[in-house]
Amino acid sequence: MFDLKGYGPALAEGAVITIELAFLSLALALFLGLVGASAKLSGSRVASGIATAYTTLIRGVPDLVMMLLFYYGGQVAVNMLSDYLWETREIDFFFQFDPFISGVVTIGLIFGAYMTETFRGAFLAVDVGQIEAAKAYGFTRWHTFRRVMVPQMLRHALPGIGNNWQVLLKTTALVSIIGLTDMVRVAEEAAKAERMPFHFFIPVAAVYLILTAGSELFIKWLDRRANVGVVQGN
């Protein structure tokens, strides 16, 4: 029904790369967000200072600039480190900084900053009495964090995580600029070669639309489940 001029398999592979990239970045972002939020709420001046610097820095710089910096700069930094290690210690170390890794690292770092804010708000929404109760039971800090704070915080964090995920998904299109052959890149090459921009970009746009619409439904479902025990006051 839809003639993709032989680019169909490449587009499908590109779509898989986009999805892999999105999920790996999400995992990194969630991890960084938890660490960042814990640092901000830790009461330690140094830790919260570092976390604040991180979130401010990330929110001031465009994602594309960050990505170009990591991609081009990352390789130069690795080369410098590799030269240094070889000259001083004779250690043979080299590492190819490919676009996929730069993409995951950049998107993870950017959304880690947004997740930090989401989780910080969610942690603050946990009732202090719960934490006091955990202390009274002799829970260690780590135990309180894992058994009391995180499970109760997640419910409050879910809408924020959902919003961030929607934006993250669309940000993955940027990796085509640094040369990763995701579906946007394949579509661009096909559109240029065949001189048919609509023919290739509209299916890709539709895939993004399906992904965002599907996630929206999934997040709504998760949110309903997470709030099962909560009486909604209106």
């Binding site: 929110r59 710089v61 170009l68 130069v76 579509a187 890709v204 639309l209």
Partner: protein, 240 residues
């Protein structure tokens, strides 16, 4: 430029007067592009948001479809579709439109405007829908018709509720404008990419431009905080 700056720059390999001028031109292009798309986007979004709250699904439906499509797909794809797509419209190359659209700036402006208008429409719609019902009832009781109610009561009240979310949209647009460099526009990011490829110095080129964007972002954040303080003056707690 003063002589001592020129002299200092002459001893610097990368940040010469010439590269700084390139960055400056890029800054002008970025500000120009973002400012125009935001202004036009806002002007389009206000009427769309009002129409989006109309009960008739034949009016609000198409607007919903428009905002859903533009918010659900990446701006990069929208830019590609418009940039590569206009040349393919049959017959356009013979009309005067081609003179305008062959420059990459205008397709980019169109894509950014459509994108920001979609987000802004939803922001303003949200603010309109959450107008306290009492305010509307009071306006009706005063005998105001729909237009007057909209102009005097609903829109000013909605503006206060929308300004916070809109400031985020403005900053998002500034950052998103970096992708203009992909369609050969030399904006701030485009200048950085040129300078990177000329000197093969990623840190100098991109960290400098990141700082430029940060300064722009903080100026915007500051300006919006002032605006919010001004609009929400009546909610400020009474100082002792």
């Amino acid at each position: 430029m003063p002589d001592f700056i020129v002299e200092w720059l002459d001893r610097n390999d990368i940040f010469t007067a010439m590269t700084l001028m390139e960055y400056w031109d890029g800054l002008v292009t970025t500000v120009h592009l973002v400012f125009l798309s935001l202004i036009i986007g806002l002007a389009v979004a206000v009427p769309l948001a009002i129409l989006r709250t109309v009960k008739n699904p034949l009016i609000s439906g198409p607007i919903w479809v428009y905002t859903y499509l533009f918010r659900g797909t990446p701006l990069l794809i929208q830019l590609y579709i418009i940039y590569y797509g206009v040349a393919q419209i049959p017959g356009i190359q013979e009309t005067f439109w081609w003179e305008i659209f062959r420059e990459p700036l205008y397709p980019a402006l169109l894509a950014f405007t459509l994108n920001t208008a979609a987000y802004t429409t939803e922001i303003i719609r949200g603010a309109i829908v959450s107008t306290p019902h009492g305010e509307i009832e009071a306006a009706k009781a005063y005998g105001m018709n729909w237009l007057l109610r909209m102009r005097r009561i609903i829109l000013p009240s909605a503006a206060r509720r929308a300004v916070q979310a809109y400031s985020n949209e403005v900053i998002f647009m500034l950052h998103a404008s970096a992708i203009a460099s992909v369609v050969t526009i030399v904006d701030l990011t485009g200048a950085a990419r040129n300078i990177y490829s000329r000197f093969y110095a990623p840190f100098d080129a991109f960290i400098f431009v990141a700082l430029c964007y940060m300064v722009l972002t903080f100026i915007l954040v500051f300006a919006f905080r002032k605006l919010e303080n001004h609009l929400l003056r009546h909610q400020r707690p009474v100082s002792s």
